[in-house]
């Protein structure tokens, strides 16, 4: 519809928590395209916006504080700008913390691209008595500065207009660039002279020299191979001026000081802001913990009141009805096809469908807490408890959500920036006993232990959490060598939640789950149906049944017969499956009453305890495994996670049984 001449690409950059995604969502609405950056597990969002007759492709770059530290987000941002050459980069900065935002602007100005600055949250700044004059800042920077309040959509169109204008008239764009501190100027120039003719074409030599002084790993590696023998001279300068990176940063902040001097008026006395008042409670070591508990309690209450009934309704009225209908009405179909439909496909779709209510509630809560700014406070309050596992406070919430369901827990790890900390959290989260596992436990423990069931349940939950902590500590030693990653986190100012941003987040995560994990769940469900049906037609004469019987020797170490082992295997589809499988295998007929009669007296207390422990720690369900695959982006880590839990659950089961037998609980 548009000719190539009237289309352009702008990249949206900005630090985290400045409202960049609000700007992106306002511009592109639902017409977003989400994929991963090539070779990375980091999300890439693109969209389109029509300004007059120009089709503007908007690329949302990951939020980064600078382009210096060596994180995935920073690499993606600068690689995109250097190699993909967007016409204009729009940088969103927060008027409340302008100096910090301009640090990113200072870095971007050294790259070969034209900038437009979006000065966001001018309303919040005004509330705090901070006055920022956009046109004065624009005059100082030599770069268009557009004042906006993105949460209300104000100024967003003006931002695009300015970007289009800059693209149309590139010559008029004359920025005031920052330099290094005066005393280090000669060093920088000497360095530029040494490298200038060997710098790859798309890179500006001065930027490369600055990055060398800053100790940037990637650029250092690139120039080392480019220069070959010439590297020695560069290396000498870098060693002699090891402290030059402070001069680079100092130069940027001197420049920032000059830029804001005339443009910003701050209130003399610090005002007590809303954020101050809320934080007095929210970040207090005791009151903050209580508040967090209250919020989490509320979340689980909501899941219990709304989520579980909806889930039960979907299961009873939609999934079961569909399966029954297929079995009774589609008799014209060959039996195999009918079974495939009712037993495999509908089970798979049903798993995805019944998970949705709880997922959406969790995504909604996560979205609200994040948008309001509370999430960082929860992380701050929980930080000290997560340290032994090499994790920060940010890992707490995802892990805690696991008590509801492991799937949103693993999807929630997206907010952890450090890749290794995120991986540890992904591997640890499935150990948290979810409601499905707890419901199996709640049904079986009284059958095995009668009056003492409650103590057994508490003990096993505590054991599970201990195992989780141990795995966390172990992975921390193994993956990070016990090293603590630095804990530096911004606590954004509190703000009213933006419904649009939250709704879009919930929608995006839900679609991601259905498309990514949903597909895997469906395939595995069909596969498992086939394995549990063929060749014999009943579960004990199926491939899965034979496999379960093959596991009998392992089961013996835990005092379990093959039926029990098979029940564990079928819990892979859904954790609740343990119960119907046992009912079928022991020919108990009706569920709990019949099962209780069939099971009572069959297992020694030692074996019962071992079974419950294994059931809690066993391989997570298909949905969780599929989500691990989706979020870790690797089958290797997914398989490792399965294997890890398989080995741990078996070892714990054997340990408990042998220990209990030794204590004399081996007899009925």
């Amino acid at each position: 519809m548009n000719s190539a001449a009237s289309s352009m690409t702008i990249a949206l950059a900005g630090q985290p928590n400045v409202g960049k995604s609000t700007v992106f969502n306002t511009l592109t609405g639902l017409g977003q395209y989400v994929s991963n950056w090539p070779g990375k597990t980091c999300e890439q969002k693109t969209g389109q916006y029509y300004y007059e007759d120009v089709c503007v492709h908007v690329v949302d770059l990951p939020g980064t504080y600078s382009l210096t530290a060596n994180s995935v987000e920073e690499r993606i941002t600068r690689d995109f700008i250097i190699n993909c050459g967007p016409e204009v980069v729009v940088v969103v900065v927060d008027a409340v913390s302008l100096e910090r935002g301009l640090y990113l602007v200072a870095e971007l100005l050294c790259l070969p691209v034209r900038l437009v600055v979006g000065l966001n949250r001018v309303d919040q700044a005004a509330q705090q008595g901070i006055k920022v004059e956009a046109h004065v800042l624009q005059a100082a920077l030599g770069v268009p500065v557009i004042a906006m309040t993105a949460s209300r959509g104000e100024g967003v169109e003006g931002l695009v207009a300015a970007a289009v204008q800059v693209a149309r008239d590139p010559e008029a764009w004359k920025p005031n660039r920052p330099g290094i501190q005066e005393d280090h100027r000669p060093v920088l120039e000497a360095l530029i002279r040494l490298i200038a003719d060997r710098v790859p074409e798309s890179y500006p030599p001065e930027w490369v020299a600055l990055k060398l002084l800053e100790g940037d790993d990637e650029v250092t590696e690139m120039m080392r191979s480019q220069l070959g023998e010439g590297w020695a001279g560069v290396h000498t300068i870098l060693v002699q001026h090891e402290d030059a990176f402070l001069a680079v940063a100092g130069g940027r902040y001197e420049w920032i000081g000059r830029m804001v001097r005339a443009a910003v008026v701050r209130p003399k006395a610090g005002r007590v802001t809303v954020t101050d008042r809320i934080d007095r409670i929210a970040t207090h070591p005791i009151a903050g913990l209580l508040l967090l508990l209250l919020i989490l309690g509320g979340v689980f209450w909501m899941t219990y009141i709304i989520g579980s009934p909806l889930q039960a309704w979907l299961e009873g009225h939609v999934v079961q009805t569909a399966a029954t209908w297929v079995r009774s009405e589609l008799t014209a179909l060959p039996a195999a096809l009918n079974g495939l439909l009712a037993g495999g496909l509908i089970t798979g779709v049903g798993t995805v469908l019944t998970l949705l209510p709880i997922l959406i509630i969790f995504f909604l809560v996560l979205g609200v807490l994040e948008d309001v700014g509370y999430m960082a406070r929860a992380a701050y309050v929980m930080d000290r408890f997560m340290h032994p596992m090499g994790l920060h406070g940010k890992s707490f919430l995802p892990i805690f959500l696991g008590f509801g369901c492991n799937v949103p827990a693993i999807m929630g790890t997206r907010m952890i920036e450090a890749p290794k900390a995120r991986l540890i959290t992904i591997l640890v989260a499935p150990i948290v006993p979810c409601t499905a596992r707890m419901s199996v436990m709640a049904l079986l423990a009284p059958i095995f232990f009668g009056q003492e069931a409650l103590w057994v349940i508490w003990g096993l939950v505590a054991l599970t959490l201990l195992v989780m902590a141990a795995v966390g500590v172990g992975l921390h030693q193994f993956l990070l060598g016990g090293e603590q990653t630095a804990f530096i986190m911004e606590l954004p100012l509190y703000q009213a939640p933006s419904l649009r941003t939250i709704a879009q987040g919930v929608w995006q995560r839900t679609v991601d789950f259905i498309k990514g994990a949903g597909t895997i769940i469906l395939v595995v469900s069909v596969l498992l149906w086939a394995l549990s049906t063929y060749p014999g037609g009943t579960i004990d004469s199926s491939f899965l049944g034979w496999f379960g019987q093959g596991l009998a020797p392992v089961g013996k170490w835990m005092g379990l017969d093959w039926q029990m082992m098979l029940a564990l295997l079928t819990s892979f589809v859904r954790k609740e499956n343990t119960i119907p499988t046992l009912a079928v295998l022991y020919e108990a007929g009706g569920e709990s009453a019949g099962l209780s009669a069939a099971l009572a007296g069959r297992l020694a207390p030692a074996a019962g305890l071992a079974f419950l422990a294994v059931q809690m720690l066993f391989i997570p369900c298909v949905a969780t495994v599929a989500t691990i695959r989706q979020e870790s982006g690797s089958w290797r880590w997914t398989l490792l996670s399965i294997l890890l839990l398989l080995v741990i659950s078996m070892l714990v089961g054997i340990g408990i049984y042998q220990g209990a037998v030794w204590l004399g609980w081996g007899m009925n």
């Binding site: 600078s66 210096t68 640090y103 986190m489 911004e490």
Partner: protein, 99 residues
């Protein structure tokens, strides 16, 4: 116990010679009590860590306000209108001159 560990790491690490010379009144940011202010006088000589500090506004000569410091666990500081949570170990590596 952990503070001690970080302190030894801190004293053995190298510092920039051109920083403002240390005053006898200078102290680690982690020792600045809640509600007080200080000016950063020394930054650690570790590129990765300092680059992260700098990007968030923690830079030589800037005024830092400690909002919360319970002498255990992370602390809360404010710099140029930005609130930051800092691990105790990280805060022990920044020197400040109390205002």
């Amino acid at each position: 116990m952990r503070t001690k560990h970080f302190m030894t790491k801190f004293f053995t690490s190298k510092f920039c010679s051109e920083n403002i010379p240390l005053d006898t009144t200078d102290l680690a940011l982690s020792d600045l009590p809640g509600g007080t202010r200080g000016t950063i006088s020394r930054m650690p000589h570790c590129h990765n860590l300092t680059n992260r500090f700098v990007a968030l506004g923690l830079v030589l000569g800037v005024e830092v306000k400690v909002i919360q410091n319970y002498h255990h666990g992370p602390l809360l500081v404010e710099v140029n209108g930005t609130r930051l949570a800092l691990g105790r170990g990280e805060a022990a590596k920044i020197w400040v001159r109390a205002a």
